[in-house]
Amino acid sequence: MSTTTFIDSNGAAIELDAVSLRFRRYGDSRPAIKQAVLNAIFSRSYAKTRDFWLFRDLNLRISHGQRVGIVGANGAGKSTLLKVISGIFYPTAGRVRVTGRIAPLIELSAGLNPELSGVENVYLNGAILGFSPAQMSAKMERILEFAGLEPFARTPLKYYSTGMLMRLAFAIATDVEPEILIIDEVFATGDAEFIQKASGRMHKLMDSSHIVVMVSHDLSLIRQFTSRVLWIDKGKIAADGKADDVCEQYLRSAQTPA
């Protein structure tokens, strides 16, 4: 159940109280009637073992002004944590409270529809972030210019290259001035020139955002952008502290496998 209310306070915040997430894995085989029937006959014992708890009573508080990096091995739950914060996954138990408008850059191409043109995607993405078409029209030129996509504005996205897609997604997501910025491996692709342009904008955006939470495997990026780092290991917060300290700890553990 989610409650969305407008408040006029300026303090952005993310609070996770005893959040547990039971992850459902339905596996490679598509869920089928056969399985449901088997479950009913054998009183659900058939597929029960495939559920597992990714988070158990996770507590986390990120307050106004913090820049938080999240590190951890693949599959540790970093991206899932971001998805819980941004409301894509609902916690199985516990409570998530988020104050402030979130721009979830969870995989940059998230809200892009390949059948639609660049311009139409700007409207769609803006709408997802809560902006009316009129408000997006005002930003349109700036977004297309930043992405360097003016000549392809009317071309359906399915004809774009990966780099073009990234640039467009980045330009939209960073133009909307979110209060809470959630970033998942943003700098994965793009040419050198764009990365430079993007990092300049990223700096600016991070300065203006109230809260930044970013996931990256690139520790130098984490150190550069964040001051607080969470190390997530198997769904638990293994360490939480100053960026340099936690990165150091994480690196040491990675070098000496347990």
Binding site: M1, F6, D8, Y26, P91, T99, A127
Partner: protein, 286 residues
């Protein structure tokens, strides 16, 4: 610029469990969902607009297809039916379309609505968005298409059988109930199809069967002693409104009203409670 500061509290799914039993839960759930849909109205608008654009803007003849399509279809069907079943062609044309247009709405709302979550998988997995807007968009698209088709129908009918029945005044009420019926049912079938992909194929077959169980191609009196069976099909009673307006020129019966209103309410009740039960679980099934 943009919406103001938002506060969102997400309570664990397990905590919600027992609250389902209280009416207060449903009142607040409906209020919340309405607010949520309102805050995503721009997304909804864009989803609907894009679908309509594909249909009306990207073809050379655009809106004209809504007129041409029925004429072509009618020519084929009417020719066949009038020759084989010896029906009066003018009358038959009017009858056929007053049933066929509402049927096409229903079929589109159900089959596209059922697939809507699967079709928007990418978005749902990566952005926090109320799932209900996808089937809602599909049923709105179907409704807009139906409105255009009815407009086209009304224009065409002026050549076949000039004049307007007063029963046309009731059509919006009938169609509103019909829309609720179709949308509620789409929420249910969407859940079934998302969980059990096999249902997509079963659904198509059922729709096909249902098509022949509706008084569209034939009139109730033509099926003889089986005519009473048509009364068990709620769609018969929704169609009664458009057939009353365009064909019969008689008021819908009390039975029509009761079954249409009851069907709409029951369908929404079922669809919405199914949706609320699986709302946060769909994502694991995509």
């Amino acid at each position: 610029m943009g919406p103001g500061m938002l506060e969102r509290t997400t309570i664990g799914i397990e905590l919600v469990g027992w609250r389902r039993l209280s009416p207060a839960f449903w009142v607040s759930a409906i209020a919340q969902d309405l607010r949520l849909v309102y805050s995503f109205r721009h997304v909804l608008g864009i989803l609907v607009a894009n679908q309509l654009k594909v249909r009306y803007q990207r073809s050379a003849l655009g809106f004209l297809w809504t007129l041409i399509n029925p004429i072509l279809m009618l020519s084929v069907l009417a020719l066949f039916m009038s020759q084989v079943l010896r029906m009066e062609i003018r009358d038959y044309a009017v009858y056929l379309f007053s049933g066929l247009v509402p049927w096409q709405f229903f079929a589109a709302a159900i089959s596209n609505g059922s697939m809507s979550l699967i079709a928007s998988e990418n978005l749902i997995r990566k952005v926090s968005v109320p799932k209900v807007i996808f089937p809602l968009a599909e049923s709105l698209v179907a409704a807009v298409n139906m409105a255009f088709a009815i407009l086209a129908l009304a224009i065409l009918l002026q050549f076949v059988r000039p004049g307007v029945n007063v029963q046309l005044a009731l059509l919006p009420v009938g169609l509103a109930m019909y829309w609720l019926f179709a949308f509620g049912l789409a929420l249910t079938t969407m859940t079934l199809v998302t969980y059990f992909r096999d249902c997509e194929h079963i659904l198509q077959v059922l729709l096909q069967a249902l098509y022949f169980c509706c008084p569209i191609l034939y009139m109730p009196r033509q099926v003889g002693r089986f005519a009473f069976l048509l009364d068990f099909n709620p769609i018969t009673h929704f169609m009664a409104f458009s057939q009353a307006a365009f064909y019969y020129g008689q008021w819908p019966t009390a039975q029509n009203w009761m079954i249409a209103a009851g069907g709409a309410a029951a369908s929404m009740l079922l669809g919405y409670s199914v949706y609320k039960t699986y709302e946060h679980d769909y994502i694991y099934r995509l």
